[in-house]
Symmetry: C2
Subunit: 215 residues, 2 copies
Amino acid sequence: MNRPSPRGKRIPPFTVLRFARYLNFLCNLPEEVREISSAEMARTIGIKATQLRQDFFTLGGFGRQGRKYDTRVLEERLREVLALQGSQHMVLVGAGNLGQALANYQDFERFNLYLRGIFDTNPKLIGLRFRGIEVMGLEHMQDFIREQGIELGIICVPHSVAQPVCDALVEAGIKGIWNFSPENVLVPEGVVVQNENLSVGIMNLSYQLSIARED
Amino acid sequence: MNRPSPRGKRIPPFTVLRFARYLNFLCNLPEEVREISSAEMARTIGIKATQLRQDFFTLGGFGRQGRKYDTRVLEERLREVLALQGSQHMVLVGAGNLGQALANYQDFERFNLYLRGIFDTNPKLIGLRFRGIEVMGLEHMQDFIREQGIELGIICVPHSVAQPVCDALVEAGIKGIWNFSPENVLVPEGVVVQNENLSVGIMNLSYQLSIARED
DNA sequence: TAGATTGTTAATCGATTAACAATC
DNA sequence: TAGATTGTTAATCGATTAACAATC
């Protein structure tokens, strides 16, 4: 069960999520900023400095006592930890509004994530191009994934077809699913899923707002 | 509509997030399903039944010992807790791809969330309509918010203008910010923010995938 | 040396799970 | 009564924070 991995100790799940936020923060920083303290970084992100240092400590520390962090060292280490150093390729299923938004999302390339194919069943969408990538018929999806050896799939289809689309992706060899449909999808052992249910965010906001009103 | 009895008790943050998932699950359930067990619901959502019951217990329990949960009672109670029973009105800033996707998102109305105005600076977008809502110039935003008494604002602008847009929203009286720009925005006391940084999800997926590959 | 900073341990706090009582 | 189910407490597990040592 808890075996040491080649890249070191197991990282706590919440720490991984913050690693992503740290990296994102560093990428948005102006080029000329070469060093930053835990206090400054933590304040901007909205956490405690001690938590940030504890996070870095899980990997043995990213800096040196007495010195601020080198932003470029930090960025490289985080990319490495998050497995973003080699290119990863993605397909997107569902070229509706949300699918188009993701296809046009500029930030992916910054993390070496490349969209290679878009698939839909709607004849009006097939043949359209987003950032140079053509929308193809769903019937070509599995061959495309196999030929290109793609491992990441983004699901932007209505919830009624999310599970069959997911199954087709997995059958074709997809190992990671990024699911924007409002239904959780089930996958076999060895495949990982990241569910991004947009409703959860707005409902949480609604609750927080109601609490704030009472104070 | 402040309910004193169950309210007042603070709900653990992670429980609130799961409440949103439970409600979402119930809304996607076929109309004719009138009762459901904690085991069945938990399995579909991907958590333990005991955690679901513990969640419900924070509000005194939603059901009766020995009986399954009544889906409609459950749904009503969750809507109440999440403060989704009265209508809430929203404005959206930034009518690019992601903004358009959200403007077209069908699920909001199911939770009594209504988009009332869309704002952008791009002349090509101003005047367009999404689901009947016109895109207006950003200069009209503050008056619109004040006149309509709107409390929720959705930010879908590039990260360089996220903070000034956020400040303008807050100045006009917005109390809750749903932020899709990749930069965390800062707000004064009394205003709540839900940051939805899309990059975090894909980076987490990238990490999980790298771990899965090692096993 | 003094002040600022990160590394590291230990304590605290909160979230999850196990166990079983209560109820139907 | 037996089996299924939720309510509730207590134990376990994990995440956050405080404190301070180490270093520059």
